[in-house]
Symmetry: C2
Subunit: 327 residues, 2 copies
């Protein structure tokens, strides 16, 4: 019988380290051809949008999709739906708000594992929202962090972030009053902004040799956080999917400015699988640009499903799908 899992249950079972492990596995399998990432659709609505994104993990016998919709003013709702890939049988429906946050952080951490300087222990954060939190939590799973500085435009918000995340991660986090201060002395830079059309915040002048940047705040054409002047300064651009090049406002702006060099761009799966090396020199400036993929959602969702089954969580519902034979 299919399981229905609510947000509370998903939070009980999904850990950041678990998500990092299963997503890294899925990326390796994707590079080996045992994962299928479908195209995705975005239906615009007068008050928001609905997006649908399918993927199949053949090495796990799971097939599914993420559905998420924004209806203003109420907000965003996310679901992940899983079926057995072989039989087509429905396995689970689950709330995917937490999965979305965790998998985005986990994927950025995987990028940092391969691209940030070995032994990087210093992080600059631009942004202090919910996404910034999971980004930092994830980094703390792959690097032993010693110094974190956070900048966001509202002093009160960055102070709160610093105080709360210091407690969560057990290390001293400092709120700073400019992007330059956040970057100064940082080996990893996280851009997790919500610029709401105020334009890009990070320029080429901000970047220093050796820096690795995780940029996750520009997933729609209308969203910006990286000025086009940053692109020529970056030595390597790693994306979670090449769809990022047409979906991220930052990538679109870079292409329009003629500074998006396709030869610099690789997919994260190619690096995780070893087909393309990770960081190649101490001074290299690397950029991970994330728009999210259903591979990340289905990998994390299937982990949640298996854990929920093991612990007896969730509401069982009737297997409501009949089958039309193909005889």
């Amino acid at each position: 019988m299919p399981l229905v899992l609510i947000d509370d249950e998903v939070r009980q079972v999904l850990t950041m380290t678990g998500a990092i492990r299963v997503i890294e596995d899925a990326l390796r399998e994707q590079a080996a051809g045992r994962v299928i990432l479908g195209e995705r659709v975005n239906m615009l609505l007068p008050n928001g949008w609905m997006r649908l994104a399918p993927a199949a993990l053949l090495f796990e016998d799971v097939l599914g999709y993420k559905e998420f919709h924004l209806t203003r003013p109420s907000g965003l709702r996310y679901t992940v739906h899983l079926c057995e890939a072989g039989s087509g049988r429905l396995l689970a429906l689950m709330d995917a708000k937490y999965i979305t946050a965790i998998r985005t952080g986990a994927t950025s951490a995987i990028a940092a594992r391969y691209l940030a300087p070995a032994g990087a222990a210093t992080v600059g954060m631009i942004g202090s929202g919910a996404e910034a939190r999971t980004q930092l939590e994830a980094l703390a799973c792959v690097r032993r962090l010693q110094q974190v500085k956070v900048f966001s435009p509202h002093a009160e918000r960055r102070e709160r972030f610093a105080a709360e995340m210091s407690t969560t991660l057990g290390l001293a986090i400092t709120a700073v009053s400019s992007i330059d201060e956040a970057i100064e002395g940082s080996e990893i830079l996280v851009a997790a902004t919500n610029t709401r059309g105020q334009g890009p915040v990070l320029t080429g002048n901000h970047l220093r040799p050796g820096l690795h940047i995780n940029s996750i705040g520009s997933t729609l054409p209308s969203q910006r956080e990286l000025d086009h002047s940053a692109w020529p300064v970056v030595d390597r651009v790693v994306v979670d999917t090449r769809m990022a090049l047409t979906e991220s406002g930052d990538a679109i702006a870079a292409r329009e400015a003629g500074v998006l060099d396709p030869l610099k761009v690789v997919e994260l799966q190619e690096i995780v699988s070893g087909a393309v090396p990770g960081r190649s020199s101490k001074g290299e400036i690397t950029l991970f640009k994330s728009v999210g993929t259903a591979v990340q959602d289905i990998a994390a969702g299937y982990y949640v499903y298996k854990e929920a089954v093991r612990r007896g969580l969730g509401q069982k519902i009737a297997d409501f799908l009949s089958i039309k034979g193909i005889g």
Copy 2:
């Protein structure tokens, strides 16, 4: 609380006349701009595929999508998912196998209402499968049928179809042994074949002045039932969506043969709304080419949902979707 509806419950409430009414309304509203039909995706799998197709009926405050997947050898599974368009709240999940069959028949009947000769009472059927049944049932709702002839390659199957559908519809249906016999004296021709790569069955030579054809058996590039020679003979091509021109193997073959005249093609919504007239002369040969749309699925699914609520049917499940605010 969201409702989960199984096949049995859907069958209890969904009538062909109800489906025809709500789909015709939805087509009229679509032409008026109060319906949004999203793009759709088709993810290919080693043993089948998964398709996702969203739509929103703004005049009904409903938003949703159909998901269907084929996993060989088990077969096809269909679901429809509905939310309130304004609030984004989940309303229902339902088995959509029956919805798919009924809405395909209903839409063809709507096409026949506008395109078949006034008072048409004679039907030729090519195909005797499940789809052929719902096609004929639907036609019987919009025309007072007096003569039906059915051809399909297996004598035993067409005889069974004739016997069973005679009882169902209360009129004498004759099994015949060739396409020509089925068409002879028929004002409406239904092509609902399952050619499985055996190639097209209906050629230009088969068609007679005044005929209206409903062709529903070529919804994928690999499927064929209409030879390219039929297209120049047809005066008007009506599609349920222009996506048919790239998805139907018949349309693809016609374009490749240079006989797909785009000026002949209109969408059914344009005819239902009155923007484009229906049948314009007695001798006109009209073709309705259907690949199905999510507008049909969501309109029929929402009708099912409202009827199920009225009758207290279905399993209520916890509202498992949390909301991420956009503040």
